[in-house]
Symmetry: C2
Subunit: 375 residues, 2 copies
């Protein structure tokens, strides 16, 4: 059983054929409009700009907010390197804060102590698509005049107090990497919730030019007006993604079935063995993006993965902490108190296979493999 | 007759189906390996890393060479904004040099006067795929200890003194944008000719991590080790591009037919009307990427495009000069003497439709439309 297998909804090939027949596959064509409209609707966003990856959407966020060398950005240490890179690339300093032991999200109780007069933004990464404590983070951001950004790579389809993840920050980012619920191999989006940021984001995405305005007929030539790069995905990717987004409920039903089976059927074993299951606070809906187990110690965790591998189940660790990674030490700063929970979780967390195509029989075999392990 | 219509070689859909069936579309899969191998062979490169665009490959070049704020990079004013953005994004200063009136390429005779003790690199943009004077530029780079970079967005398949464009710089970049000879809608590549730069380029392309080494089995965990972003294109794009590259000779034969027809059949009209046709020095082979005409003055040029539009022929101007663009003034510096030729060419140059799918009958009609214009 592989850890991941990208799911096809059935419409992908047909949409690719339609795109091929159109005579051009350059970005911002009809499928990009269609996928963006679907995302806008799902997220209630002012605008959603498809991008070449979530990493690039994060890079765009740093440019849109015009972060400067020496500015500080608060983010969790337990995240993918892209969350920190985006700001380090602009010379801003990622300030690493520890995660909560329950949700594995940025610990909102530690954030305020990390704020200085150089702080410009907080990045909330919704681990496994379980929302961070957005009320607390929004309160801190407001008190200190900081921008709130959501790295929502995992969280499409999830909510916090009834509102979609991705709708809280001035900016949010989505990933359509092959491992994500809806995907196109590699892809992403910048979600814009603050109308004042749309024009600047369009310019940055179009190589620092006003080409988007040109193609809307608002100006008669386009020019180099600011920093930027080319973040437009090919229409091939937009076509594929459209098929995924239009059938998102099918994808989600399949993943939820697997997630719920794991959660129910591993509960007793987890309690007996001191293993922590994912925690989803009652005011949040998760998107069945990851199913993970936190073993009681590093040796048990390594043993657990070996045991599963021997039984043909590919289970994997996840992020390596950023605060003590070579680039984290060079470009970042660690908040007071360090990141002990992050270090522990990084050594003790294991993800189980989770994808729409997993059959009930395969799930049975994975459950049996897990529960046959004694810590 | 539209200005461009992306050509399909016939294998694209089949390759897309193969990619779809593989269970993952994330970057650096089998089609990426196949397309990279084809490009390595065409270019004689040490390594070719597919990227999400030529703009991104240029961004990568600035990171690979570790350009710092205040460093200077010499490049033509007559190019696409991405050529300058890549360096301005790192805080380096684009230094704009004028173009030659014949090839519309960076005027190598003006380059040395633009060199200062801050200069780190020269970017040769091969306009329309006609090579710059690489011997002269390589000589200057060597004398002053500068890196040579080729923005070869237009030049796949072209040669200078028998060697492929893209093989001269430490780094070169390719574009697979929908307007390019071989394309996948949006895409690019970083070509590496200096073996010492490969590892660093792999890290930058993989979000600043050593994930490429991890997947080669050289290390047992990957970490955040340096700046980077996600420049991997989806396997969907690599599959499509593979089809294009495998049939590159078909694409080229079709384009060459159109280019040669224009060149031969417009020669007399051009001479009679003071119109300049493209100049290809005898030691260079061009790839039939663009066919352009430089009219004798701006009014004639505007009149010419209107005349063609009235006859149903979509012909377009090209770059707006960068040295006097808002971002050029803000982030760059203009070399002594300014860029008068660039300013003139920008106002007087018109590109004709050029793509493999243009029929002989359509070419006849375009030639008739052009030659019915009197300056
Ligand atoms: C050397 C070099 N280096 C790097 C890269 C980056 O590659 P990636 O895309 O892979 O990152 C490129 C890519 N450039 C290509 C084309 O070469 C370029 O022409 C343009 O094409 P368009 O889609 O806009 O269409 P068009 O038909 O060329 O023009 C349409 C109308 O727009 C008007 N116009 C045009 C310009 C240019 C301008 O400044 N201002 C302006 O008002 C003229 C027309 O009427 O953009 C492309 C991305 C490059 O050339
Ligand atoms: C919050 C957040 N923000 C932004 C983005 C950017 O998105 P874009 O891609 O769209 O730009 C992401 C994307 N991340 C995803 C995955 O979440 C991530 O897991 C990883 O997936 P992989 O393909 O590597 O596979 P895997 O199966 O997750 O791991 C495979 C093995 O690698 C070992 N490993 C793993 C890690 C992570 C690490 O640091 N070090 C390490 O030694 C564990 C295994 O044995 O990379 C993806 C791009 C993100 O999560």
């Amino acid at each position: 059983m592989p850890f991941n297998r990208a799911f096809l909804t059935g419409a992908e090939l047909h949409y690719l054929e339609t795109a091929l027949a159109s005579g051009t596959l350059e970005g911002d064509g009809p499928f990009t409009a269609r996928a963006s409209a679907l995302l806008n609707k799902m997220l209630g966003a002012v605008a959603t700009l498809l991008a070449t990856s979530c990493s690039h959407a994060l890079d765009m966020s740093a440019l849109v907010l015009d972060l400067q060398p020496g500015d500080e950005v608060i983010l969790p240490s337990y995240t993918f390197p892209s969350t920190a890179n985006a700001y380090a690339l602009r010379g801003a300093v990622p300030v690493f804060v520890d995660c909560r032991p329950d949700t594995i999200n940025l610990d909102e109780r530690l954030v305020e102590a990390a704020v200085t007069d150089r702080t410009r933004a907080i990045v909330a990464v919704h681990y496994a698509g379980v929302g961070c404590d957005m009320d607390a983070l929004a309160g801190i951001a407001e008190r200190h005049g900081l921008r709130l950004i959501e790295d929502n790579a995992h969280g499409l389809g999830a909510t916090y107090r009834g509102k979609p993840l991705g709708s809280f920050g001035s900016l949010a980012t989505q990933s359509f990497h092959s491992t994500k619920n809806a995907h196109c191999g590699e892809g992403g989006a910048l979600v814009i919730n603050d109308p004042d940021l749309v024009l600047q984001a369009e310019i940055i995405r179009e190589k620092g030019t006003n080409r988007t305005q040109y193609y809307r007929g608002e100006i008669d030539r386009y020019h180099w007006v600011d920093l930027g790069s080319s973040y437009l995905p090919s229409e091939l990717l937009a076509a594929f993604l459209t098929a995924q987004l239009e059938n998102f409920d099918v994808i989600q039903a399949g993943r939820m079935r697997v997630w719920n089976a794991y959660h129910d059927r591993l509960a007793e074993w987890a309690a007996d063995n001191g293993v922590a299951q994912p925690v989803v606070p009652v005011d949040r809906v998760h998107p069945a993006h990851l199913y993970f187990l936190v073993l009681p110690d590093p040796a048990a965790s390594a043993g657990f993965r070996r045991h599963l591998a021997d039984l043909g189940v590919q289970a994997t660790s996840h992020y390596q902490p950023l605060h003590n990674a070579p680039a984290g030490l060079r470009f970042g700063r660690t908040a007071p108190g360090g990141c002990p929970t992050t270090e522990r979780v990084a050594r003790q967390l294991t993800r189980l296979p989770l994808y729409t195509g997993l059959s009930d029989d395969q799930v049975d075999r994975i459950v049996a493999a897990v529960t046959s392990y004694r810590v």
